[in-house]
Chain length 336, copies 2
DNA sequence: TTGTATGCGTTATCAT
DNA sequence: ATGATAACGCATACAA
């Protein structure tokens, strides 16, 4: 079934069918009705490959997600999808493995499928201006931004201030009297990762309070409870005096909490815990876990808005920074 | 940049470029090298719209997910992606809203993009043979199967036995002495949903032990902790004597556990809890939650295998039923 | 208001 | 071993 068949059956030319289907040009009500009935009857769906080929630009948006299994992204993905569909565009969700260059993948995808826009969710901070220049369609970085070596006018971003947010969390623990604070994140020592940005905030808070930075208090772990659990065990073995743990993700924090509780210690009695992200699971943990909450759904929404502004011709790139919120639920306590 | 440009720059015809790119036909090593170097230099990527249009059949697989925010699906999605990419095919992840007909959406997508296969993840059991017949490419139902009115030879599926699994969980609680067991699921009263299948197992166990079924013990709730929390609160208010709760999802079970614990009750002292799925978060909850564990990643793997067998020409549809596992972690106890 | 014809970037068939 | 050319299904400029 193609447009030619529909035209023949309807007794009209193919351009008329095209006009009906795209609401372009003028078609008499009678022919429109006739064509539509044939379309319905045969359940005809236009071939998007042909359409995109002809149009040299599809209206498809791609969402490149790094870390699709992080529950924090789940609601964001749903919101992006909702917002993109609301604007009548198909969304292509693409999962990027750890370590794969998402910009390169996007460049390829754009050429391959004539996309009209890209949203990057998660990932690192170390993209070069070179790479961005390769991307010939509008795009928005969500959850991340980039470092200052890149001219901010060549890309848009929607994020929180990771350094400052981690600084806030660490400061909070210090203000409660903690001096031995552990830090857990993915790739904390790899420059320009989210984990590294948060490590910087952690270090900054320590420094400002004259607490020496000790690498033994830092562990690398994936964004999942099992890794948080194992890393927390290692930290507790190494640092008997630790009184607090700051995890750069709630998924990690949950594993940390389990490590503490299953060792017979109490939260926050023996160990204070602060997570990061603001996922539901951390709120419903027992005890509920303190966290740095990011407005994920809003960020997703604004990302789509920003992208469509760019697609609509807006030339000025924006850098929207949301406030993160320190949510205190009782998993940290004052000591001394 | 298109194949014509590459041909011109390389000083060859476009068919030669095509041959090089697709490893089809015979090309001299010299020309192949020359063409490849130009391709690399200009970073040329073939336009998949044109290719798919020409080929009348792309090699793209679609994954239709109902309930993408359910963490249980996260690892499954990753595995499907891994396996599909391993076979050199692009994967299109499509999220289907609650209440939307996924088969209809797939039929449309297949026509639109010339897909070569579809995997359905999550969703309901009530598809008709009519609908399946519309799907002109191989497909596999994962996580669900369908009811007996549909000829099993017209579709393939990879699932667990939901009725029997729920039966096992309920039986377990009954064997521990529980008589007042609550049940929580999404759409338990809507026929042919997963929730309903599990309700049937729950009812069957009650019946076999002469425990009357009481609708007041059943609550409808979405697959998320917040909904589990609210539903558990309602159940606890209605049924003061309830001693156990069986949730048709671990995400729900976590909310249930929080409702119990935050009421000052203990698990399993005052309330026994069993969940469903086997997600990490339930294991790392404190206390760790009992659950019916599904081998999600294996199911994803086998689904892709089955799909590719069908694509390769296998004509016999398979129905693979995995065993679920009752995992006892201590959130249920013997009473009386 | 409607139909005809051209080309989008490929692949594949045919000559060469 | 290689190049010209005809489709694939559609949108659109243009003719009617």
């Amino acid at each position: 079934m193609n447009i030619k068949d529909i035209a023949k059956i309807s007794g009209v030319g193919i351009s008329t069918v095209s006009r009906v289907l795209n609401n372009s040009g003028v078609v008499s009500d009678a022919t429109r009705a006739r064509v539509m009935s044939v379309v319905k009857q045969y359940n005809y769906v236009p071939n998007s490959n042909a359409r995109n080929l002809k149009m040299t630009q599809s209206n498809t948006i791609a969402l490149m997600v790094k870390g699709i299994s992080n529950p924090f992204f789940a609601n964001m993905i749903k919101e992006v999808e909702r917002q993109v569909h609301l604007r009548g565009c198909p969304l292509l969700i693409q999962h990027i493995e750890d370590g794969v260059d998402e910009i390169g993948a996007a460049v390829q995808l754009v050429k391959e499928k004539n996309l009209c826009g890209v949203i990057f969710m998660g990932g690192t901070y170390d993209h070069s201006e070179e790479e961005f220049k390769q991307l010939t369609v509008p795009f928005v970085l969500t959850t991340i931004t980039t470092i200052k070596e890149v001219d901010p006018s060549v890309f848009s971003s929607v994020s929180i201030d990771d350094v400052h947010s981690a600084y806030k969390a660490t400061n909070y623990l210090i203000s409660l009297g903690h001096r031995s604070i552990c830090f857990l994140a993915r790739f904390p020592l790899v420059e320009n990762t989210i984990g590294n940005r948060r490590l910087l905030g952690y270090k900054k808070a320590l420094e400002e309070h004259g607490i020496p930075y000790d690498p033994a208090f830092v562990e690398d772990c994936e964004y999942a409870p099992s890794f948080g659990f194992a890393a927390a065990k290692r930290l507790m073995n190494k640092n008997k005096g630790a009184t607090a743990m700051f995890a750069a993700s709630d998924a990690i924090a949950i594993g940390v909490a389990k490590a503490v509780l299953s060792s017979g210690l109490s939260i926050p009695g023996d160990m204070s815990i602060v997570g990061f992200d603001g996922i539901e699971m951390a709120e419903y943990y027992h005890p509920s876990l303190d966290t740095i909450s990011q407005p994920g759904v809003e960020m997703a929404h604004v990302s789509v808005e920003t992208l469509f502004d760019l697609i609509a011709g807006e030339t000025a790139n924006k850098h929207i920074v949301f406030e993160s919120l320190l949510v205190k639920r009782g998993s940290s306590r004052k000591i001394n």
